[in-house]
């Protein structure tokens, strides 16, 4: 094979990757594994958040992604100090409502998530919503039913009308190179073309009962055999993981632990993620709302509009991540207290997100529908 050998010689073996490159790549992977992946794109998140949105992983940790948004409408970003009695009453009302919801075979949640990235510097720059996926997740209550998570990538889009104008002015680029925390990555407006994104058409991730059983068995076996240091950590992490839904979802007492020990913003976020993504019983969901009602620092911010134009009851809590102060906002549907959206809004940029501006939405997840159903998973 002369040609292939000549090609090999033309492109000589490079030196091994630098320690810095290897370290950065491994940290990125670890963040992703810990569920902080999508978040890491714009900033590091407090431990415990689960990037369910991007991984579609049932067994993963706890919270989901946060996200962006406020097209136009936007929430109140100005600080409103102190815990707010009305936030507590709203959450207690939501708990009452949740306790009465019917239970079914599948917890089905339809969402659209996304992460905000800044393209370009200064006046010509704009914010783009990348890694936007639409999800339809059917998570079975029973281990003898198959979980099916459908998803598709929606492609990157300018976040607001002003961003769209700047993007058009920049020549409506189909791909954009953006800085994501500690490295460059490329976003594409074409669904499915962003590296690492899902395909643009709907695809399904399935976890069938046999696999659930097999995985549980294998895990237990591995954990019973503490000889392998690479496994010891994972078994330990499992034991420590407060968000292990298989147990938590059955045990209202553990719901508090799901919220973690972080600041109010982090706890509100974890609560949102749990309530949106975990197949918990009505009892447990009610307990989760009550646990949130006990978090001091959660305040009512009045009417808020999400980026689908839906107006709801806004709750917010202050948090800090990677030097940036943010508000985590929940939007609840008036009357039913269903969750409409969760998002993170910059209050005081700093650290790695120093380039963001107050009011910028870092990430958001819109809930199109969530609830128990007795139907079988079907493609949207």
């Amino acid at each position: 094979m002369n040609e292939t050998k000549t090609v090999r010689d033309l492109l000589p073996e490079p030196p091994p990757p630098s320690e810095r490159a290897t370290g950065a790549a491994f940290r990125a992977l670890q963040d992703e594994i810990a569920g902080r992946g999508g978040a890491r794109r714009t900033r590091r998140l407090p431990f415990g958040r689960l990037q369910l949105a991007l991984t579609g992983l049932v067994a993963a940790g706890a919270a989901a992604t946060v996200a962006v948004a406020a097209l136009g409408g936007g929430g109140t970003v100005a600080p409103q100090p102190g815990a707010d009695g009305s936030a507590r009453s709203i959450l207690l009302a939501a708990a009452e409502q949740a306790a009465q919801e019917p239970e079914g075979r599948y917890w089905r949640v339809q969402t659209i998530d996304g992460q905000a990235y800044r393209v370009g510097k200064g006046a010509g720059g704009y914010t783009i919503l990348g890694h936007q996926s639409q999800w339809d997740r059917w998570t079975a209550r029973s281990t003898s039913d198959t979980d099916v998570h459908y998803a598709r990538d929606l492609g990157a889009k300018p976040l607001t009308l002003a961003d769209k104008a700047a993007w058009l002015k920049a020549g409506s680029p189909a791909t954009m190179r953006v800085w994501s925390d500690d490295r460059w990555t490329t976003l594409s407006t074409v669904p499915g073309r962003t590296p690492g994104a899902r395909s643009g058409g709907w695809t399904a991730d399935k976890t069938d009962p046999a696999r659930k059983k097999l995985m549980n068995k294998k895990r237990d076996e591995r954990c019973a055999r503490p000889g392998d240091p690479s496994l010891r950590w994972s078994c330990h992490a499992r034991k420590q993981a407060p968000g292990d839904w298989l147990h938590t979802a059955e045990d209202p007492k553990q719901v508090k632990a799901v919220l973690g020990t972080g600041d109010a913003g982090g706890r509100l976020m974890a609560g949102y993620d749990f309530l949106t993504h975990r197949p918990a019983t009505p009892k447990v969901r009610a307990a989760a709302f009550r646990a949130l009602a006990d978090v001091s620092g959660v305040r009512s911010i009045g009417e808020v509009t999400d980026d689908r134009g839906r107006t709801g009851i806004g709750l917010a809590a202050r948090g800090t991540a990677a030097g940036t102060v943010y508000d985590y906002q929940l939007i609840l549907k008036p009357g039913t207290y269903e969750l409409l959206a969760g998002r993170r809004v910059v209050v005081k940029p700093g650290g790695k997100m120093a380039g963001m501006r107050p009011g910028d939405v870092l990430s958001r997840e819109l809930v199109l529908s969530a609830g128990w159903t007795d139907k079988s998973p079907r493609h949207p």
Binding site: M1, N2, E3, K5, T6, V7, R8, D9, L10, L11, P12, E13, P14, P15, P16, P17, S18, A21, T22, A24, A25, F26, A28, L29, Q30, I33, A34, G35, G37, L54, T55, G56, L57, A59, A60, T175, R183, W184, T185, T186, P195, G196, R198, T203, D205, T207, R211, K212, M215, N216, K218, E221, R222, G227, D228, S230, L231, W233, S234, R238
Partner: protein, 201 residues
């Protein structure tokens, strides 16, 4: 071609077993990074240079982790699967790759641009035919280039290339033939003697 998969005993878990396990226990995936990061980085660096490889090799493992639910052991081993992901990511930088080969193609006399020394070295090791070869490489279709480079750089069999790129074996064979033919023509046009010497070296 499938790595041995010990049935849950003392030996370290096989690649496919790690992926399977990582669906429930995501941390297990880190082990695959330790096994393959350097190799994938090297492959991408040869196609796009070290800087791009830092990004793309990292991105490869993130993408692989996110897609681990879709890894199907029936369709091939983990290593080709990872190369396939890396190759697709390289494919997003086609222009940069062609630019790189064209830069390699410039004769050493072209002057002291950055990477000049590398270029000279590549030229010399490629038996003086580096210029034509690099130009021909830039002219291959992306599909031909992917197949050729997986075979040349990753030492893949046809089966592995087929698994990596999700192609039929026949397609792999025909693309490789076309690619080799094009390179041969380019090389023959220059200096067949040098090639012959090189091949026995």
């Amino acid at each position: 071609m499938t790595p041995s998969q010990a049935p849950g005993d003392d030996p370290p878990p096989g690649d496919a077993e790690l992926i399977e396990g990582s669906r429930q226990e995501p941390e297990l995936f880190a082990e695959l990074f330790h096994r393959y990061f350097d190799e994938i980085h090297g492959y991408v660096a040869r196609r796009l240079g070290t800087d791009a490889a830092d990004d793309i090799a990292a991105e490869t493992f993130l993408a692989a982790f996110r897609r681990r639910d879709r890894f199907d052991p029936a369709r091939g081993a983990v290593r080709p699967w990872l190369y396939g992901i890396a190759t697709n990511l390289v494919g997003l930088h086609r222009r940069a790759e062609r630019r790189r080969y064209r830069a390699l193609a410039r004769t050493p006399a072209d002057g002291a641009a950055p990477g000049h020394d590398d270029r000279v070295a590549a030229w010399v090791t490629a038996g003086g035919a580096g210029g034509e070869l690099a130009r021909a490489l830039a002219r291959l279709s992306p599909g031909e280039r992917d197949v050729l480079l997986l075979i040349a750089l990753a030492d893949f069999t046809y089966d592995e290339v087929a698994a990596a790129l999700d192609l039929k074996n026949g397609t792999v064979a025909s693309r490789l033939n076309r690619a080799r033919k094009k390179l041969r023509e380019a090389l023959d046009g220059v200096n067949p003697m040098l090639i012959a010497e090189e091949s026995t070296a």
